[in-house]
């Protein structure tokens, strides 16, 4: 049981060392010649006149809300799927009851135009 986690830990440490080493080597080897014009954010040659951190389309928030709803519901499918044959028809009925509000929610979202871009 613990061995499962040992493998993950080893690969995590090795991965961090590898990635950190690559960044470290870059910091050491790369040239450092800084001046104000070079440090400007890239704008196709124009001077940036406004901060990019402004209000953006509300659709992105809507997608994030949808994500929270559907991703949390999707999680409940996994344990059910893993013992599906043991639960048999009872489990199938239960998941139908569970899927119904999910499907109704999706249809409602769709009809209300929440999925339009």
């Amino acid at each position: 049981m613990l061995a499962d986690y040992v493998g993950i830990l080893v690969i995590l440490v090795a991965g961090m060392l590898l990635v950190g080493g690559m960044l470290g080597a870059h910091l050491l080897l790369g040239p450092k010649r800084k001046f104000a014009e070079k440090d400007e954010p890239f704008e196709c040659g124009e001077k940036p006149i406004a901060s990019p951190h402004q209000r953006y389309a509300v659709k992105f928030y809507l997608v994030a809300l949808l994500f929270v709803v559907f991703d949390v519901e999707a999680i409940f499918f996994y344990p059910w799927a893993a013992v599906f044959t043991e639960l048999s028809w009872f489990g199938y009925g239960a998941i139908l009851v569970f899927t119904l509000p999910l499907a109704v929610g999706l249809v409602y979202e769709w009809l209300k135009g929440g999925l339009e871009w």
Binding site: V6, G7, I8, I11, H26, P31, Y56, F84
Partner: protein, 382 residues
């Protein structure tokens, strides 16, 4: 035990990160060249030796190391530095639960060729895949650049949308194999499946042909729809063309990694290519029988070869054959992703989102319900 763990881990890092990922950057250039009737990368040479351009990945690394480490004015320095790490590390460690060989018995030792033989393998994959989203979003947000921010907004919406469907489209496969453990799925696919078995189960017909016409018991034959849906989702999750809207170099220049140079950019670049390998490994383990050889199960090889050469030799042979089979399938899936990348044009953003929420999501819920019904009917009849 720790020694075996460390060896298995180092092997994976050597093959995936050290071997395959650089090789893929070369394959991508060469394959695109072949597909577009060009010659492709062939200039990098060491002492006149070019090896059909195989030194290019090495030249890339040297070039990236020699670039200035650039942080734009007004950027959040800490997050700007952290973002490539958050993008690259999940890509490297995702391979930990993908089996690249089976479970073998040498005397009283059992060898399972996977770094972490965990019951929660697929949950780990989903968790790690969603971590990679943060790297992309933070990179664009911290750069203080309009293009980058647009890229990271696109990336956030696209990646979380496809995360939902990525999870749901695989439920059918979990139902078929009754597990979330990838090694168990691969073991379950190391057998065959009667194509016309339903005639026997539902109608009681018996004919030698029903027993003889068989396919390998691969996930793709049980769940063809899930195969297509999951492949689409996970490719969209990796943001490679035709789903490269967060980068979209003809619209928003380079999107979320526009303000990155040198190795920091290299880490985004690397994580994308490692993810190609991870996707190929995942598709292989879930749908293409993992390390198994079609029509030639482990027991058959051990029994057949073991009779002449001894069980130990036969098991060793199995290890080699299975690893070769795994690498072959992995290569095929990598080739497929590369071919797709140079075949399809980039989608529009509304098309990407419509595909996710209006096509894949309803289809994957329907797939779960239909799979359940069919499995229960088969269970009743059998």
């Amino acid at each position: 035990m720790p020694v075996a763990e460390i060896l298995k881990t180092l092997f994976i890092l050597l093959v995936v990160v050290g071997g395959l990922a650089p090789l893929i950057t070369w394959i991508e250039r060469k394959q695109s060249a072949v597909m577009q009737d060009r010659i492709g990368a062939n200039r990098a040479d060491i002492g006149g030796l070019t090896l059909i351009g195989l030194f290019h990945p090495l030249a890339d690394v040297l070039k990236l190391l020699g670039k200035e480490d650039f942080v734009p004015a007004g950027a959040n320095r800490v997050l700007h530095l952290l973002a490539p790490l958050i993008a690259a590390i999940p890509a490297v460690i995702a391979f930990a639960v993908i089996p690249y060989g089976g479970v073998y018995r040498f005397g009283d030792h059992t060898l399972s060729l996977v770094v972490s033989d965990a019951d929660w393998g697929m949950l780990y994959i989903f968790a790690i895949a969603s971590l990679a989203t943060y790297g992309t979003v933070i990179a664009g947000w911290s750069s203080n650049n309009g293009w980058s921010l647009l890229g990271s907004m696109r990336a956030s919406a696209q990646m979380i949308s496809y995360e939902v469907t990525m999870g749901l489209s695989l439920v059918g496969i979990f139902m078929v194999f009754q597990t979330l453990k990838l090694q168990d799925m691969a073991l379950a696919q190391d057998t065959t499946l009667r194509v016309f078995g339903f005639l026997d189960i539902f109608f009681g017909l018996s004919h030698p042909a029903i027993d003889w016409i068989r396919l390998p018991a691969w996930g793709v034959f049980y769940q063809p729809l899930a195969f297509l849906l999951f492949l689409t989702c996970i490719m969209a999750e990796n943001k490679r063309p035709p789903f490269d809207l967060p980068e979209g170099e003809s619209e928003i220049i380079a999107g979320y990694h526009l303000e990155y140079s040198g190795m920091r950019f290299g880490l985004f670049f690397m994580s994308e290519f490692i993810q190609v390998v991870v996707i190929a490994g995942l598709m292989t383990a879930l749908f293409l029988g993992g390390w198994s050889i079609p029509y030639l199960s482990t027991q058959t090889i051990v029994a057949g070869v073991g009779r002449f050469m001894g069980t130990g030799f036969a098991t060793g042979l199995c290890v080699l054959l299975h690893f070769a089979a795994f690498m072959l399938k992995l290569g095929a899936m990598i080739w497929f992703q590369m071919a797709l990348r140079w075949t399809l044009p980039r989608f529009r953003y509304d098309q990407v989102m419509d595909l996710c929420w209006k096509v894949i999501l309803p289809l994957s819920i329907a797939n779960v319900l239909v799979t359940g019904l069919v499995m229960l009917l088969v269970q009743e009849a059998a």
